[in-house]
């Protein structure tokens, strides 16, 4: 990719902190847009020069506040430009950023703050403030609070609360005094210093703070070229909407912006995401499988409820795409390409624009396994969706599929600079500059994860002849039935989730005679079906308890069971009468199922699944 020499960034290979990169970008191209933030319907722009100046001023205020080199400063907020500004400011002050999920309930925040020794905390608004106040007396180490949106908090002085605007104003006045100090702190930052603490999702226990060093961050930036090189030009748009405290969104938003000079766009709020997506028209789009499932379900509801002619034509287009999916895109015959072109003009491109993916060059799915049918669907309508595998401990993306997923493995190839091998027990081991430093204040967990420089990922992987990899399942999730058969639940669950009536499927088989499952129906698609079938319902519960719905799900399970080996087939299911929720502790902040918790909360239902059959 052509790039002007005056801009120094990650690709020249010499270690730099994020602040240095921002400074270099600001010097080379002061007016270039770095961040856009939508407020009250208007997109406000910040150039790289603004970002450089504002973050250093803010850093001056932090120094005055008592932030020391190595202090832990938390951010508890939804994505907004202040998140990234604070992040750079904290790092400029030589401190460590601790990202926290704004959806976390109070008790979880207590754990996050306590486990990371957070002394200073940036919070978003009154809602987060109330959660902190509720923990009064339980967070002895937390000293000061800064709030982004002070609405409703005037006159509050809990933990010396002040607004971000006031802090920025103080910083502007104090900057001349602390300028030298800040330059010195940036200069003193080493590659091994911790830049960021990211909490693991905590699907098996309490979330652990993983320490990501400045060196990891820098190494992740260097991989960006390998992943997207040539495809996504400088100045491309990225919409930041998944939580920034998650490593994948850090990678997507911040690392990308620094490494390839992309524009970080922050929408109005999570509730306006569909509109913001159409506004920003990103070139690069990252979604977790849940997002893709939702898009697919939403689209199918539209197709099914459209005018009969529209439904008929669209279904014809989709069937045509499905037929072509057997052949890799690069090996298409002339006629296949012609047919694709025809339907693209007529249908596919409209579907893409409807989803807000009209400009997307590369779409990414990661963070959880995705059903193959879903990938085929999106590739069919012309979305170049590629799977990425990575984890918090590898600073995000570690390997990626080539364009249109054309490789044998489901997660593609590791780039140069990352070495991978498969241990005797099938576990994937990874080595490279992106491998994290270790868990904060948790030497036992670190020692069992990092052995001789190899990261033990906890994922069972398979290596394909073409050099690509596939992930089989989490090592801990592998279940052994009472008949002694090893089962990988995620394989079974994803097979079932291919049905668009099934949103969530949790398989049980460990020390049991056969697999059973709890199923959460997809309310949106199920209601359309119910209306067509003349089934009366009111709420989610009444739909899930309807015998016709239960019968339909049983048929779906029976149909999908045919794709599985005999021992893997689900013998019996129970429909959940409520949706799984983070507030009830059933899923993590990233909507990953907490099996232990489900086992406990639904023990009666699970036992019933076995008794009735016995």
């Amino acid at each position: 990719m052509a790039r002007s020499n005056s801009i120094q960034n990650y690709s020249d290979g010499v270690f730099k902190t994020a602040n240095t990169v921002v400074h270099n970008l600001a010097r080379a191209n002061p007016d270039r847009v770095a961040i856009r933030q939508k407020r009250f319907g208007i997109w406000n722009e910040y150039s790289w020069a603004d970002v450089d100046r504002l973050t250093k001023e803010l850093a001056a205020a932090l120094v005055e506040l008592g932030v020391k080199q190595g202090s832990k400063v938390g951010i508890l907020s939804e994505n907004r430009c202040e998140w990234v500004m604070s992040q750079f400011a904290i790092q400029a002050a030589g401190a460590t950023v601790v990202g926290m999920y704004p959806t976390s309930p109070s008790v979880e925040i207590e754990h996050l703050v306590g486990a990371s020794d957070t002394e200073f905390l940036f919070i978003e608004d009154q809602e987060q403030f109330d959660k902190i106040v509720a923990l009064d007396g339980q967070l002895p180490i937390l000293k000061k609070l800064v709030v982004f949106d002070p609405k409703g908090l005037q006159g509050e002085s809990f933990l010396e609360l002040q607004s971000y605007a006031d802090l920025a104003k103080k910083g502007r006045e104090l900057f001349p005094i602390h300028a030298a100090e800040i330059e010195e702190r940036i200069g003193a930052t080493k590659a091994k210093d911790t830049a960021l603490m990211v909490f693991t999702s905590g699907s098996t226990g309490a979330p652990k703070p993983a320490q990501i060093s400045h060196g990891n961050y820098f190494a992740a930036g260097k991989l960006i070229d390998d992943f997207f090189g040539g495809h996504v030009l400088q100045g491309s748009n990225i919409l930041s909407y998944l939580p920034l405290c998650h490593i994948a969104e850090q990678d997507m938003t911040v690392v990308n912006a620094l490494a390839a000079n992309h524009i970080m766009n922050f929408g109005e709020s999570l509730r306006t995401i569909t509109l913001d997506l159409r506004d920003a028209a990103p070139d690069l789009f990252f979604g977790v499988p849940r997002i893709w499932e939702k898009m697919h379900a939403g689209l199918m509801v539209q197709v099914k409820t459209a005018h009969p002619i529209q439904t008929w034509v669209t279904e014809m287009a989709l069937n045509s795409a499905e037929k072509r999916a057997q052949t890799p895109r690069s090996k298409w015959s002339f006629w296949q390409r012609a047919r694709n072109q025809f339907w693209d003009v007529l249908i596919y491109r409209h579907l893409r624009s409807f989803l807000g993916l009209g400009h997307v060059k590369i779409a990414i799915t990661a963070a959880a396994p995705i059903s193959l049918d879903l990938l085929t669907f999106f590739r069919g309508i012309g979305v170049n969706i590629c799977e990425i595998w990575g984890m918090t401990e590898t600073t995000g993306a570690a390997c990626m599929q080539p364009d249109w997923g054309e490789c044998e493995g489901r997660v593609g190839f590791f780039p140069d600079g990352v070495v991978a091998k498969i241990a005797n027990d099938g576990e994937l081991l990874v080595k490279g500059d992106i491998v994290f430093k270790g868990y904060y204040r948790n030497p036992e967990a670190t020692a069992s994860t990092l052995v001789d420089g190899w990261l033990h990922t906890g994922d069972i992987a398979a290596h394909h002849p073409d050099g690509s990899f596939s992930i089989v399942d989490r090592k801990k999730d592998v279940m052994i039935t009472s008949a002694g058969k090893n089962l990988t639940p995620s394989l079974i669950e994803n097979t079932m989730k291919a049905s668009h009536f099934i949103k969530e499927c949790i398989v049980f088989a460990d020390r049991r005679p056969y697999p059973t499952a709890l199923v959460q129906i997809d309310f949106e698609t199920m209601r359309v079906w119910a209306e067509k079938a003349g089934i009366t319902y009111t709420t989610f519960r009444s739909l899930a308890e309807n015998p016709a719905v239960v019968k339909l799900i049983d048929q779906e399970i029976e149909r999908l069971n045919q794709r599985l080996a005999r021992v893997e087939q689900i013998k019996k299911v129970k429909l959940l009468t409520k949706e799984l929720d983070h507030d009830d502790g059933e899923v993590t902040a990233t909507l990953k199922v907490r099996r232990a918790k489900i086992n406990e909360a639904y023990a009666v239902e699970i036992d019933a699944l076995y008794q009735e059959h016995a």
């Binding site: 109330d130 119910a530 209306e531 009366t536 319902y537 709420t539």
Partner: protein, 264 residues
Amino acid sequence: MLSVENIDVVYHHTVQALRGLSLEVQKGKIIALLGSNGAGKTTTLKTASNLVQLENGHVREGRVMFKGQNIARLSADALVHKGLFHIREGRRIFSELTVEDNLMAASYALKGRALRPDYDKVYAFFPRLKERRKQVAGYLSGGEQQMLAFGRAMVAQPEMILMDEPSLGLAPKIITEIFDTIRRLNTEDGITILLVEQNAHLAFSIADYSYIMESGQIVMEGSSDKLRSDPDVRSFYLGVAEEGDERESFRDVKHYKRRKRWLS
């Protein structure tokens, strides 16, 4: 008596007001329908009484059954003859006619039913109307106009009444009176009632069963006692703070809304 099954209602072919809404009203019960502004409560009633077409609304899917008969082919006045009376929001009396004439006009509903209008019963229920029976209805107070609207319903001798916000714009004392009347209509005359109401306290006090609506869908249903103790209903409809503490001033009102979950 009345069952609404998965109805989708769209106004002007563009604005979707109801999305797969279902509810069931059993004979002799009082059923309340609650929800915030624009949730689709009034549209639900208008669909049930077939008035929605007059406002360019169309039922795209689903059906409404009254006494086991699909109402789709019945006109609004035919429904009244069959015993379904709709008291619309804002009274809608003939303001130029006298009280007596208003009641007389309502007796049209009895045509072909071999019933005689019982004006005395109305006057016994509402002595105030008797005092003012020669007055032009437009000059009555709001409470009296609501009584007149109820009186017209009674003249029609319906089996079921759809009531749209009877407490709207009335003084608390009058509201108590109106709700007493609703209860009497139900217990004494055995009239089935579907009540749309903003005041959740009042609605729960007389309803046997309630539905809560939001953006054209039912989000929750249950007996009044069950809903009254639900944390979501308490904080969003009954204005009771979660901890049960009292708010001292407007400053204490939160700027964010607790996430609604509507677990049933």
